[in-house]
Symmetry: C2
Subunit: 350 residues, 2 copies
């Protein structure tokens, strides 16, 4: 099983196609972007979500911006490109892959600023393509570490969606599960539904179903009892940003799982590409947590589930302290404690 049926993102004939993740699992539709502002919209409205997928979408957003500014003079071309990058950067505040991808492309433009806009455009296009390929390779490399952490028979708890939909393909935490399953291990998955946006119910369940991986869906608060009762062998989650000390921002609910896992000695793994590390920040305290619309909690689809306009606190992410994490799996290694040292070492290897 080398190629999945699930294609979350592809670029063709100057158009970026994103599977509309708001409509899954009921409809499999693609949202087409022909300019960077519609890529901004797609990221902001969570048509595309998942830190790695957001990164690649933003990279193609920069390619579309370059195309748009192609016939401007060089100065305008470059400054417009920087402005487009800053605009795209604001679409979501927490995932570091977004800025990482934009900076990658802006660095190439800066490095080749003496070339023509058209030449620069092709360089950006090639870079985005490369990043897309790299994302898949990175996922597969991380997933190979399943050898080291998943026993022959295992019940695994996961949160949110970290699968093919959250990436270019395969996935981070769910990618590890997928590889373990295809390697012939006896895997059972409990998927947290992941309120408020229900990425677990809508997206992870959909991916698990597509591949017939044995699994059950649970309300987020059921996980604690399963963990206490010894029904979970390990927990695998993704990450949106990892500080230099290993503190990890991920989907709201991750921290709660980590507290229960620590209390009952269940291994808790974060799976994320090295582009998720943000060495510019010391700890989780410096991570900006995005607060989203009250309607995500007050409504489901068009159904009002709480009194209209009732006040809501709706943070999209939380921060899991490094003490609660057993190991962080990236494409280079299974990083264990002490995290600060080992993360620093690994990034020097770059």
């Amino acid at each position: 099983m080398e190629n999945l049926e699930i294609k979350s993102i592809f670029f063709k004939d100057d158009m970026l196609y994103l599977i509309d993740q708001r409509k899954l699992p009921l409809k499999e539709e693609y949202f087409a972007c022909n300019n960077y502002k519609s890529v901004y919209k797609a990221i902001k409205d969570m048509i595309v979500r998942g830190a790695p997928a957001i990164g690649i979408a933003a990279a193609y957003g920069m390619v579309l911006a370059a195309k748009e500014f192609l016939y401007e003079n060089k100065g305008n071309f470059l400054s417009n490109l920087i402005n487009a990058g800053n605009y795209l950067r604001k679409s979501r505040p927490t995932a570091v892959n977004l800025s990482w991808a934009i900076d990658n492309l802006l660095n190439i433009a800066a490095k080749h600023k003496d070339k023509t806009p058209e030449e620069i455009y092709y360089l950006l296009y090639d870079k985005a393509r490369e990043m897309e390929r790299e994302d898949l390779l990175t996922n597969k490399k991380m997933a190979e570490f399943q050898d080291e952490i998943i026993p022959q028979k295992a019940t695994i708890l996961t949160h949110c969606n970290t699968g093919a939909l959250a990436t270019v393909g395969w996935g981070t935490a769910l990618g590890v599960i997928r590889t373990a399953f295809y390697s012939g291990k006896d895997i059972f998955v409990y998927a947290d539904e992941t309120r408020p946006r229900l990425q677990g119910a809508r997206l992870t369940a959909w991916e698990l179903m597509k591949e017939n991986i044995p699994s059950k869906l649970i309300a987020d608060s059921v996980a604690a009892t399963l963990i206490r009762d010894g029904k979970i062998d390990l927990i695998l989650v993704g990450a949106d940003r990892i500080a230099s000390n290993g503190d990890t921002a991920n989907k709201i609910g991750t921290f709660m799982l980590s507290v229960v896992a620590k209390t009952y000695n269940v291994p808790f793994y974060v799976v994320a590409p090295s582009s998720t590390f943000d060495l510019s920040i010391k700890s989780g305290e410096d991570i900006i947590i995005e607060e989203r619309s009250p309607d995500e909690v007050l409504k489901i689809g068009n159904t009002q589930i709480a009194p209209k306009d009732f006040p809501v606190y709706n943070p999209a992410f939380d921060v899991t302290p490094h003490e609660n994490i057993t190991a962080i799996i990236c494409e280079k290694a299974v990083i264990r404690k002490p995290f600060s040292e080992n993360i620093a070492k690994l990034s020097e290897e770059k």
Copy 2:
């Protein structure tokens, strides 16, 4: 504020009226029962929910059964009454108040078995009325203990609905909050939405709004971060059944809160009438946990939120071990550790 606008349950002209809690907060409609089988349906389908409210509904269900069998001969009258009790008992397995209420009425029938069916019917009716009045008085007595546990200014986290809707009026955990608020304390409430049935979003938010108690709604998994960050002064929850050692069955999600509260030293209180104690069981291990329909997780209203027929594990309750509980508040006392001893003492006082 002695009488609430909110009336969850009342009996009039041989009819039991229950506010239809499935339709709140969008519609305020009453469901009318004129026989015990429709009371069974109302409890099973959660038209009425909340352990104390279920108890009173079942008591009136027995009154309706007595009315139905009034013209049978005495032997049939009594045996039909016992059968009706056993039928009603099966409507929900976890709340002990249900059996407690049915047994109360059957004991009266047994004690007065030499009287005529009509005389017994009136005795049962009087007992149900008395239990209804008692429930409200009990709530108010528990709520007075707010003096002892709630500071002048407090941010309180609560789970599920334990208010006027879960009882005849006022409430258990939310009753304590209500009394603290009306006593002039500076109270702020975070209400867990409480998946899967969203009693927090639908019912607690509705009650808080009706009385203008300052509050915000959160997804269940947000609570952990608030607790860690010192934003919660205390946690108040209800109970469906309390074992003799203090282990407490309550709405799914309660256990998770208790683990996080214990980790970060936040006081965790259970508020429940003494009818919630089940001294016939030693510990939480003996409590039967009701598993409900997968559709509660797969759908919200008529909106499908996960792939159709995806497997689900949907326990309605979990068990919080007594070690995680700071105190149990009933109408008689604030019960502190050691729970086994203090619960035994209290029940001897009966």
